[in-house]
Amino acid sequence: MTAILSADSLTIRFGGLAAVDKVSFEVQEREVYTIVGPNGAGKTTILNMISRINHPSEGRICFLGNDITEMPAYRIAGIGIARTFQNIELFEHASVLHNLLVGRHCKSRTNVLQELAFLPSVRKAEMVHREKIEEVMDFLDLQPYRDQYIANLPYGVRKIVELGRALCTEPKLLLLDEPASGLNVEETENVAFWIDDIKNDLGITILMVEHDMSLVSEVSDRVLAMNDGKMIAEGTSAEVQSDPEVLRAYLGA
């Protein structure tokens, strides 16, 4: 096993406050690595730094051995990191199909002038994109919603569409920001199955932020616990849950 992603003493300060303070971890290939912690612990901020929405004040992020700390955000998808968002950031006034097609954007190589004339090369490329999307749709059972507008879909389905859109980029590493938040028990179980399938069948590494401890212990290989921007424990799910520091962070006292 080799490290696919490594974060080296990541720090970010908003004003004077260190939202993330010297956090270092490594994600191994084909594992599910989960970050847990109370609200405001800096979990999402870590994902934001990896997908380059926030810029770390200090520290380095390496992906497949390359330093990506200075890379512009729009290139991240192209090198194989895809993500979902905590509060769902879909393209609301577009169909599910359209949303997934945007996920293919990083794979498109045609230029604007070719597209204005819709040359055969563009059509050919489009066909390839569509084929990939149908695979993802079948994988996630999205076919019934194919041509529906996001604005008309229930919350649970939107979450899945967002997951699908991330898969369409054919990532090596998938960042999931609270994939189960707002879902009911049954939907959460589905998410657990899919995460397993994504890891085992598609061979995609997953870095996840999640609150639902049952989901975390079900799918995670390793867990990192954070509080107030600092790492407090790392290990298997059971180890972290029995760690005295973690208990203190969650229960006070």
Partner: protein, 297 residues
Amino acid sequence: MIQIVVAGVAQGCVYGMIALGFVLIYKATEQVNFAQGDIMMLGMFTAFTLIATGGLSWWLGIVLAIAVTGAFGFFLDKLMLRQIIGQPQFAVVILTIALGFIFRSVAGGVWGADPVSFTTPYGRTIVTLNESETGNTVIDVSDLVIILGTIILVAVMYAFFRFTRIGIAMQAASQNQLAACYMGIPVKYIFSLIWGISAAVSCVAGILLAPKIATFDPDVGFLAITAFAAAVIGGFGSLPGALLGGLIIGVTEQLAQAYLPGDFARAVAPVSGFVILLVVLLVRPDGLFAQTQRKKV
């Protein structure tokens, strides 16, 4: 030089006050009111009707005109803008542009397209500062009244937002509608009130402006486009910024008019405000006193 600057500052104060109207509404409701200039125009014509046609004294006339315009703004929000809460910002832009068209058209129907004026107690008096061989430095009293009026208005507004209960409630409502609503603040009423205040402020601007430009017609509202530039230069969320933006534009216009060579001045002076706006926005895309805006994910 001094007389140019004073004229520029006065012009700038008018821009600044109209800009203040924009910013008030924007700060509170995140709506952008493109009809501000036309509301000002309506205020000016109301004052005209009361003073010139109705024969009221200037003082009584302007107080009534300000009250009427304020009420107009209040009901404009209550009856019109309320309908489209929740639609994108763009819808408000279009709606207010359209309302501006309607106001102008209605004003043209009621008052005609010919320029009108009303008398003021201070009229077009001129003060001579110092006499010298090269020429007298003269200052228009109407300019001084504008500057004085602006200072009073700003002081009153500052006190209102800082110290009164309702002013503080307005600040709260502007930051989070839902939370303010739960705290028992009547958000809808507050928004209408803000529109009323904003309309009243632009009416003040119009009334002070009237003697400076001698006559006005229904197209006087186009002035607000320049005031818009002022608001944006200031950062569109900042009240002092709006005033400062107005002053910058007002003074530049006058200086460009006076010091650029003939042909060039004619071409550049009327749009100098927009040139400054473009320059400012190119350097700082969110204006001078921007409030940083970043979406959280």
